[in-house]
């Protein structure tokens, strides 16, 4: 149904920049690429001769590996640069680092950075395409897209569903991309968590803020628990992880308030027993590992589409 839509974006900086048609085309492309990863020879020559740089200034296992696997399955050459191994520790600015990389003519730079907006800064100063692999507390568009894909796969549709996102909405770029993506695609997004972790004006991104977790989960088709980051010490956001688990963790009782066929999602890595009961994480409703599988397909689609494939 989206086959006539042409993808015209050079960069993927956030779902806020993408139209419903763009996201539909990405999902459709990802669905068609998913099969490649199930073959005995998991490689197609589509992007042979293309160069992709993974520029990761924050530690990441899942996302970096997923992008690398995606690129390699399309036969692109990939190079990984991590924060500690880069020249930024020698005082080089992000723009200088990027320009130096750009001088080696990569086709695409995939950037993970702790500062919101840094992919935009990069895109404004180099010729290569930029894919945002997570910037600060702004967006994580490939994660949002793989979550859309996973829900569409499980439910057949996105429009009309109720998506409950529970936890640290304020500091979660995953939550931000999901709120934007799911609401654009016609779902209702209910968010809940400690009031200290609900950011001001999140309604304007498309979310409905619920006063209680139970209210958010009620009749939901999808429950997404977010990682609670233990390392945020500067701001008194929570009394304890124990109290968080007791009052805001996704428990079996809570899941009972959702629709009987509700699925459970988590962007990982999970703090087991904090934001998510381990029995639920490993239970039959969990699609957490499907998210990871779909992540490769979505990233193959993103790389393919921004390099002009159609």
């Amino acid at each position: 149904m989206y086959s006539t839509h042409r993808f015209s974006h050079k960069h993927i900086l956030g779902l806020a920049d993408l139209s419903v048609e763009d996201m539909g085309l990405i999902l459709q492309t990802a669905e068609s690429f998913k099969e490649i990863s199930t073959r005995a020879i998991k490689k197609v020559p589509t992007l042979r001769g293309k160069t992709i740089v993974n520029l990761f200034f924050e530690p990441s296992t899942r996302t970096r590996l997923s992008f690398e696997v995606a690129a390699k399955r399309m036969s692109a050459d990939t190079f990984n640069i991590s924060g500690s191994g880069s020249s930024t520790v020698k005082g080089e600015t992000l723009i200088d680092t990027a320009r130096n990389l750009d001088a080696m003519n990569p086709d695409c730079i995939i950037l993970r950075h702790s500062r919101s907006g840094s992919p935009r800064l990069l895109a404004d100063h180099i010729d290569a395409s930029v894919i945002n692999a997570g910037d600060g507390t702004h967006e994580h568009p490939s994660q949002g897209l793989l979550d859309l894909m996973t829900v569409k796969e499980a439910k057949g549709t996105i429009s009309g569903l109720k998506i409950a996102i529970i936890g640290d909405i304020a500091h979660s770029r995953v939550a931000h991309s999901n709120i934007i993506g799911f609401s654009k695609m016609g779902a209702t997004v209910a968010v809940a968590g400690p009031a200290t972790l609900i950011p001001p004006g999140v309604e304007e991104m498309g979310a409905t803020v619920c006063g209680s977790v139970a209210k958010a989960v009620e009749d939901a088709d999808v429950i997404m628990a977010l990682r609670i980051q233990k390392e945020r010490q500067h701001d008194p956001l929570l009394p304890s992880l124990r109290e968080y688990a007791n009052f805001f963790g996704v428990s079996q009782k809570l899941v009972g308030a959702a629709k009987p066929d509700a699925i459970i999602m988590h962007p990982g890595p999970i703090n087991r027993g904090v934001e998510l009961d381990p029995k639920i994480a490993d239970g039959s409703r969990s699609v957490i590992l499907d998210q990871v599988t779909n992540g490769v397909a979505v990233r193959m689609a993103l790389i393919y589409l921004i390099m002009g494939g159609d």
């Binding site: 919101s116 702004h138 950011p199 001001p200 304007e204 991104m205």
Partner: protein, 431 residues
Amino acid sequence: MVAPLLLKNGRVIDPANGLDGIRDLLLVEGKIAAVTLPGEVDGPAGVETLDLAGKWVVPGLIDMHVHLREPGQEHKETIETGTLAAAAGGFTAVACMPNTKPVNDNEAVTQLILAKAAARGSARVYPVGAISSGSRGEALAEYGEMKQAGVVAVTDDGLPVVNSQLMRRALEYAGNHELLVISHAEEPTLSQNGAMNDGALATRLGLRGIPHVAEEIMVYRDLALAQYTGRPIHIAHVSTRESVDLIRRAKAKGVAVTAETAPHYFTLTEAAVDQYNTRAKMNPPLRRQADVDAIRQGLRDGTLDAIATDHAPHSELDKDVEFDLAANGIIGLETAVPLTLRLVREGILEAGGMIALLSVNPARILGVGGGALSVGAVADVTVIDPEKEFVYGPEAVHSKSVNSPFLGWQFKGKAVLTILAGRVTYSDFPG
């Protein structure tokens, strides 16, 4: 010896003397020799005469809040370039904030600033000293020594005085030396090195927000301390609706408070930082329309006493980086007149009100003289062409830095002639 100058047929706007009318102004030996009805003064034989019909002739403008960056950050601005920018913006005097490197918390730095200003300045420079030693917020700086060297006020601007007892003592002790205390009102445990105004846009951009209460809590504290100590306080760069309201109520109660705002706070909203535009990043941050409206009202009803630019030059090194890491502040000296003229054209300010906010009011707040076109006074005079249209491009900037969110704006009205003690420091005339 300065050549005499006869400024004919201009609209002389001199709020200190209650004058707004077509007059001739004769400047002789760096002083105002006569202010007369047109044609009533001839001046000495061969006097240079300028016909200023259609122009405004006003007291030399005074910006009570600028950062000249010297000593220590001369790659951003120097006293020479900063005062050149001041002259180009119509200012004949600036008060420079103490957050230089080293901090101006002693007579040596004050003397250095004044010596450089005397040697290479295009405007009067009034140094402002630090409230606390090193602006570290711990111990009082040596106000007496700094006052003798020439400071006109004290502030830790750029940083709030977190310790309330220190602020109280600063107010008390500044009284011994007749120094004004200027408050940079910010509660840092709330602002937390935030990057922009708190709210929906900050959430969408993933930037840490600075809630407006971070300013208002400190405004209230400093008003309370001023009332308690019976000492005057000046609130710098007011940016929020509630701050305006707090100041208005304090004035009604008789608290000795004065306050300034900057042109960007009555012109722009937080929307200017969208797309991570570091040229609109500043502290306090740009707020919302309701705040902009309240600041305009505060200027109109006299709650806010002065317009000061908070001219804060930064190089590309400081601005072309990740938004979180970008330096706070914008240059403002060369856009203050055109931006404030917009308020006059919108009917928010009268011409006389605008000029008072930019001249006699800051002069009185700082106790520095100037700001009036009285016969016998030093001839600091600015000529404004309210109709002159121009595009504010980087090539036209006299400041050493070009960090302005107004680059590319089409403006109407600017300073076309700036005269410091009878000498022309800037001319875009007849232009």
